[in-house]
Amino acid sequence: MAFYNKKEFKPFTSLLIVLLTLFVIAFFKITLRRFSYALYQATLTFDKVQDEYYSNVTVYGKMTQTKRLENLAKKHAFDYKKQGQIIQVINGRATVID
């Protein structure tokens, strides 16, 4: 075959350009579709993570209920301050007068 002869190669050049252009367009379209699928997967993951976050918020809200904290404090011998009880903090030192 006379491919070393540039003159004989000339008729195929335009065809090659057309084919290459079509190939590039097709490549970009396929890449776009791949990105779409990747983003779709990311959306599903985001939904899952968001659901987990809200479940954790529920658990946190239950754990920090004032009633629960009060029961926990009482178990560790904490109690409400009595009326008239004064706690003074001066220069970082606390003194209780009751």
Partner: protein, 677 residues
């Protein structure tokens, strides 16, 4: 040769035809691919595009410290496609066992082959979801939805309200702020591939952050809890029917706590009876009783009557035509003459009635009206009642009874808001429950501020009222048990008979006991209103509600970090950093005090304490505590002025004789009012 030419012509012709046909095909193909065609585009869109409605996630509700009160969590709901069900009877049997419902309930849905979608159960629990998934039954499918969860269960239930199965607000804040919390659904155009998977379209994102706004309340959930706890104990102790408690910010009229007992679990709201679900602090009206005497006195002051004006106690009986007004406790004997302060302190019905008859119905009604009685406060909550304030003219007996809170009806919020106007120096404001709304994704915030409605008192009048209300919580006052050690408390008790709604008149032996007050009286931060309905045991407000007020107020001021105002001997702290001899210092002061007492019995212990405080201040030990004042009771004016000589204080003097009371004013106690008698 001729034959050859014909053959080559024929070949050329066939090739030419095929070339033309192929060219047409190629050109047509290129034409379709490259040249836009609206008809074909529409066809393509119809095949591959879908409009999807994205439902917004309902906004959360937080308290003022950003603690979650109500959140939307994901949940799965179960639906069936009857046409695709292979074993409807078996499925119905399994579901009936799981949900404890009759089998026929499910069969009715599954046997209807005309329908393609029937709900089986909304918002499944985790256990139910796991169980149903394990059966793998055909025709049963799950749909992801959002479910409302209230983290504090019973606390604040009537204020928050609740949502329905579809997630719409039905009561309370959920209903009032429905449009803001629910958000707006978004329609998104999505292209799908052959498998139905969504695709980009013009680079527009399809992860849509669709959500309602979050609401941040003015409520402090710790104060709320403590208030509810106190009310619950009071109900149990007195065997009462119900109770209401309100704490407002004195400066801004923000609602810091609003309690209605009995309450219910917000996560199972529809199981509670309707009357418990109501926010009775806002929706229910009642005759407030003696807490309204304060406004009768305000009316007197506005009419030009001096605080020292005296009224005859008339031996506890005020005759108006054929009717007789007596004191609440007919056995108690008052002094012959009572001034305005005494009328409040001793809660004299006769005194209040005399004031009202003296100033007349028009002026009295005008005062009640400007303080917001007979109309809504405008709080952002549904179903607010406006109360009952009779039209003029009032008969004499009506004027007299309205002066001590009978014959007029108001909500608990109206009374609390009216006291807030006294506490903040004379401004009637619109109470608010929601502080701000916030977009959870963009962070955009919108603050909802309380409106200043109007000025109803001058500062001088407000200060005079505060002093009078302080006398209620002093020795001999009806609210002495409302006192909080170390602080000045201003307030008023009220014990009102309950109206008989079936017949006219009042129910025998049934009372509404209440206390309205604010603390600290000289620079109010909290206005607290407590009401206990139908106490069977010990129904007097002075012994039932006043101690509860003291506990709640004590908690509130400590939680806010407000230092005590009144120093007494046992409250002195004598330690400083590195000084471990505090106790010995205190002991030495005690010894000196005893010696001093022996030497001069005229000097009260308080005056000695004040000198000790001066010494401590000179040592710089109390420089961290600018709010302490001297307790100078019993001293003469000359002695006091000598004590205060080196202090940067502005003094205002009332009366003459020995000092009865000293009230600091201002943020740093730079003013002081001295009351002599």
């Amino acid at each position: 040769m001729f034959k050859g030419q014909i053959i080559s012509q024929r070949i050329f012709f066939v090739v030419f035809v095929f070339a033309v046909l192929w060219s047409v095909l190629l050109i047509r193909s290129a034409w379709l691919q490259l040249i836009p065609n609206s008809k074909l585009s529409r066809l393509q869109d119809k095949l591959f595009e879908r409009t999807v409605t994205l439902k917004p996630r309902r906004g959360n509700i937080y308290d003022r410290h950003n603690k979650e009160l109500a959140i939307s969590i994901p949940s799965q709901s179960l639906f069936a496609d009857p046409k695709r069900m292979k074993e409807p009877y078996y499925s119905a049997k399994k579901l009936a066992q799981l949900f404890c419902k009759p089998k026929s309930f499910f069969l009715k849905k599954f046997l209807n082959k005309n329908k393609r979608f029937v709900w089986v159960k909304r918002h499944l629990s985790k256990r139910e979801l796991k169980q149903i998934k394990s059966w793998n039954l055909k025709g049963l499918y799950f749909l992801k939805e959002s479910k409302r969860f209230y983290t504090h269960e019973n606390s604040l239930s009537q204020v928050l309200g609740f949502t329905g199965v579809e997630g719409q607000g039905l009561e309370g804040i959920e209903r009032q702020y429905e449009d803001i919390l629910k958000g707006e659904s978004q329609k998104v155009l999505i292209q799908r591939d052959a498998r139905g998977r969504p695709l980009f379209r013009d680079f527009s994102p399809f992860i849509s952050k669709v959500s309602g706004y979050d609401a941040h309340l003015t409520i402090d959930s710790d104060l709320q809890f403590y208030l509810e706890k106190g009310l619950k104990q009071a109900i149990e102790k007195s065997q009462a029917e119900s109770a209401i408690g309100l704490i407002l910010s004195a400066e801004t009229s923000e609602v810091l706590a609003m309690a209605n007992l009995p309450n219910y679990s917000s996560n199972q709201a529809l199981k509670a009876p309707a009357w418990i679900r109501r926010n009775r602090a806002i929706t229910d009206i009642f005759e407030p009783g003696s807490t309204l005497k304060t406004f009768t006195v305000i009316s007197a002051l506005k009419s030009g009557i001096s605080p020292t004006q005296v009224y005859s106690s008339q031996d506890g009986r005020l005759e108006i035509g054929s009717a007789v007004i007596t004191e609440a406790d007919s056995k108690k004997k008052f002094r012959a003459f009572l001034n305005l302060s005494d009328i409040l302190a001793f809660s004299s019905n006769v005194g209040a009635g005399s004031i009202a008859l003296g100033i007349g119905d028009k002026k009295l009604r005008k005062t009640f009206k400007i303080f917001g009685f007979g109309k809504k406060t405008g709080i952002d909550f549904p179903g607010e009642a406006k109360g009952l304030l009779r039209e003029l003219p009032w008969r004499e007996i009506e004027t007299a009874t309205i002066s001590f809170g009978h014959g007029i009806a108001s909500t608990a919020l109206q009374v609390a808001n009216a006291y807030t106007a006294i506490a903040n120096g004379g401004w009637l404001k619109q109470p608010v429950l929601v502080k701000k709304i916030r977009n959870p994704y963009t962070g955009e915030e919108k603050a909802l501020k309380a409106k200043n409605l109007k000025r109803v008192l001058t500062e001088e009048e407000a200060r005079t009222l505060s002093l009078m209300l302080i006398s209620v919580t002093e020795e001999h006052g009806t609210g002495v048990l409302a006192n909080v050690p170390g602080y000045f408390v201003a307030g008023k008790t009220g014990t009102a008979q309950k109206v008989n709604l079936q017949n006219r008149g009042y129910k025998k032996g049934e009372y509404i006991s209440s206390f309205a007050g604010f603390i600290p009286a000289h620079n109010p931060k909290f206005v607290i209103y407590l009401m206990i309905d139908g106490a069977k045991d010990n129904f007097y407000a002075s012994s039932l509600v006043a101690p509860l007020f003291s506990r709640v107020a004590s908690y509130a001021v400590r939680q806010a970090g407000l230092l005590p105002t009144v120093l007494e001997e046992e409250n002195i702290v004598l330690t400083s950093a590195g000084d471990r001899s505090g106790n010995s210092q205190k002991e030495s002061i005690k010894t000196k005090w005893l010696l001093e007492k022996e030497r001069n019995s005229n000097i009260k212990s308080d005056s000695f304490i004040s000198r000790s405080i001066t010494n401590i201040e000179n040592q710089g030990l109390t420089k961290h505590n600018p709010f302490f004042i001297h307790d100078l009771k019993g001293l003469s004016l000359r002695q006091i002025l000598k004590q205060l000589d080196n202090k940067d204080l502005r003094v205002k003097i009332q009366g003459s004789g020995r000092l009865l009371k000293s009230i600091p004013q201002g943020d740093k106690n730079e003013h002081i009012i001295l009351i002599f008698g």
